[in-house]
């Protein structure tokens, strides 16, 4: 096979010889397997410990367990701090191969400890916002200090819950009356905020490679909130323009940054919105009308997508 390729490539003899030697000596790396195993080890250990504690809660005593979890978490963070590389606004290489996993373990343990404290002792009482606010601040800070996108995702999730909890009036939650307006608007604002953070980051040149994580949260939360406003709240007049703006923004982002992902996602969400609008507002037509709509709209979208090269200005490196 290799010989066939070399022959087809018609390289100079020295280059071909170099490649032959390389392919013959190529090391078989187990790195990926080991990392995955490490990751599963962390997950299993976490699940097992959590379950164990749940089972033996009568024998051990709560404080001992909390202290134990706290020690693990602190040890992980201590390790991370001892081995950390100097802070930089750009991407930073992991200090050791398992650095990221230990950091992740520390964060998860922290969450378990906090949840435990709240569940058992109501440490934060009714102030649920605080329960999510603390991990949010901690994780976001850690993400920037250690340049870790996994922890960043945890932090953004904590932020989303914090915003959701804080902005939703408590009595609505307890009365089980789900206030969709607040949630929807919060979602849109949150999505917009994620985009803003991305732009500040890119403008100020701080952790530009975090953009994708932020925008990924932003695009899905923002678009789903817009669609929810259209479909669940039935306020297309307000939310459809918002959806259009969001789609337009992400199309522009895809065009300037060469991102195929955001192009496809924006087109898909936009199509769902337009289709809903048409099907909902044009009832009572013959079935042919709807089928023709799908026919022509799909042709349009396919033409647009197949000509992506003309739309996207440059391809991301």
């Amino acid at each position: 096979m290799l010989e066939h390729l070399l022959q087809q490539a018609s390289l100079e003899p020295e280059a071909a010889e170099k490649i032959r030697r390389f392919e013959a000596q190529k090391a078989f790396s187990l790195h990926w397997e080991l990392k995955t195993l490490l990751y599963f080890g962390v997950l299993l250990l976490n699940a097992g410990l959590g379950y164990l504690i749940y089972d033996n809660i009568d024998h051990i005593g709560h404080m001992a367990i909390i202290a134990f979890i706290g020690v693990i978490s602190a040890a992980c963070f201590g390790y991370a701090f001892r081995h950390r590389k100097p802070f930089s606004t750009g991407p930073v290489e992991s200090a050791t191969p398992y650095f990221d996993y230990i950091l992740l373990l520390g964060c998860l343990m922290f969450l378990v400890m906090e949840g435990y404290l709240q569940f058992q002792y109501q440490l934060f009482g009714e102030r649920y916002g605080l329960v999510t606010f603390i991990p949010m601040v901690l994780f976001l800070w850690l993400a920037y200090v250690f340049d870790n996108r996994g922890v960043l995702s945890l932090g953004i999730t904590a932020m989303a819950s914090w915003v959701g909890i804080t902005l939703t009036p408590q009595d609505l939650l307890t009365k089980n009356d789900f206030n969709s307006h607040t949630i929807t608007n919060t979602g849109i604002a949150f999505g917009a905020f994620m985009c803003l953070v991305t732009f500040l980051g890119e403008r100020l040149d701080i952790k530009k490679h975090f953009s994708l994580t932020y925008l990924n949260f932003g695009v899905h939360i923002g678009m789903i909130a817009c669609l929810a406003g259209m479909i669940a709240l039935d306020l297309s007049l307000i939310y459809f323009p918002l959806l259009c703006i969001t789609v337009g923004f992400f199309l522009w982002y895809a065009r300037t940054r060469g991102s195929f992902y955001f192009l496809t996602v924006a087109v898909l969400y936009g199509y769902i919105g337009v289709t809903y609008l048409i099907l909902n507002n044009m009832q009572g037509f013959e079935t042919e009308f709807y089928l023709f709509y799908f026919f022509f709209s799909c042709i349009g979208v396919i033409l647009f997508l197949t000509n992506y090269k003309r739309f996207i200005k440059k391809v991301a490196p």
Partner: protein
């Protein structure tokens, strides 16, 4: 035999290989550029996300078109339904061949994939619709198999190849299941024999330069053989099938299946390291996990919490030291 331009497929293979050589510092920039100019492969193969988007919209489009024609009232009889399906299957294949592949040069663009899938499913569906209700399941498989095989050969499609593999396995198992008295004993061994044979053949096939274009298909089939082989003799699977089909709470020669359950993962790991085969190794690791679960299903040695904790700790520590 292949619908796509073979010269370009060859060029594509060299271009991707050259890229990896270049990344490893074996080719200079000039060499890479020269090679790419020498070997053009002007396929239309967009990015994965575009491919997914195109696939989704192509699917909606095709069903809208078929829906529009269905409204004309062709579907009022069973024969009409079959004729309708066959007609559209032919239309889609002709479109795929002459327009999408021949003139637009699509290759893995989402459009060619989806056209193939919809054509095949419409075709098979319309044939199935004309079957009498007493037709055996194995007949359905026999009808589908040639088309799945032809589709995977002609369009180098991995999903088709996977379906063809599953279809063949099903035919064998359904046939063996009909053998009176011996079915219970033969079922696991026929599964093992089939997977082992296919695996051996696919490994050989991957070495053949003449078959280089089907490399992706061979890898997928190899990937499917390994779990199928393991599952054929896994104690849990054998026991469940025995209880389900033959009302046997305990399968015969249990010791054999137990040793198979634990032996095969070890075999996979050893072979994987020996042959430096990532597929074997990864599936071996998964098989170890499945074996542990199988064991736990029958023997409750300790509570789940302890198992998780201990295994997690062991795996964590082992991986930590191995990385070091």
């Amino acid at each position: 035999m292949i619908a796509y331009n073979r010269e370009w497929l060859d060029a594509l293979l060299i271009r991707t290989t050259a890229h990896s050589w270049h990344k490893n510092g074996l080719l200079s920039n000039e060499q890479l550029v020269a090679l790419q100019e020498q070997k053009p492969a002007p396929f239309y193969s967009p990015n994965l996300f575009i491919r997914i988007g195109l696939g989704i919209f192509c699917l909606i489009l095709m069903y809208a078109v078929m829906g529009l024609f269905a409204l004309t009232g062709m579907l009022d009889s069973e024969a009409g339904l079959t004729a309708f399906g066959l007609f559209w299957a032919v239309i889609w294949i002709v479109l795929l061949e002459l327009w999408i592949i021949r003139s637009l040069h699509h290759y893995g663009s989402g459009l060619d994939d989806m056209l193939l899938y919809v054509a095949t499913s419409t075709f098979l569906g319309s044939i199935y619709a004309s079957f009498p209700s007493w037709a055996e399941p194995v007949v359905y498989c026999w009808v589908a198999l040639p088309f799945l095989v032809a589709g995977s050969i002609r369009y180098l499609d991995r999903l088709m190849a996977a379906a063809a593999f599953g279809c063949t396995l099903l035919i064998i198992l359904l046939t063996v299941n009909e053998i009176p008295k011996l079915a219970l004993y033969l079922l696991p061994f026929s599964g093992m024999a089939f997977s082992a044979t296919v695996w051996w053949w696919v490994r050989k096939a991957q070495q053949r330069v003449a078959w280089r274009h089907w490399q992706g298909i061979f890898v997928i089939v190899e990937l499917l053989c390994l779990p199928t082989f393991y599952a054929s003799g896994n104690y849990f699977v054998v026991q469940q099938v025995g209880a389900d089909q033959f009302n046997l709470p305990q399968p015969p020669i249990g010791w054999f299946f137990w040793s198979f359950t634990f032996g095969v993962p070890v075999l996979y790991l050893a072979l994987g390291l020996r042959l430096k085969d990532r597929l074997l190794l990864d599936i071996g690791i998964l098989a170890v996990a499945v074996s542990v679960f199988t064991f736990r299903h029958y023997h409750h040695v300790m509570p789940l919490a302890w198992v998780c904790t201990i295994i997690g700790a062991v795996v964590f520590v082992a991986a930590y030291f191995l990385i070091n």
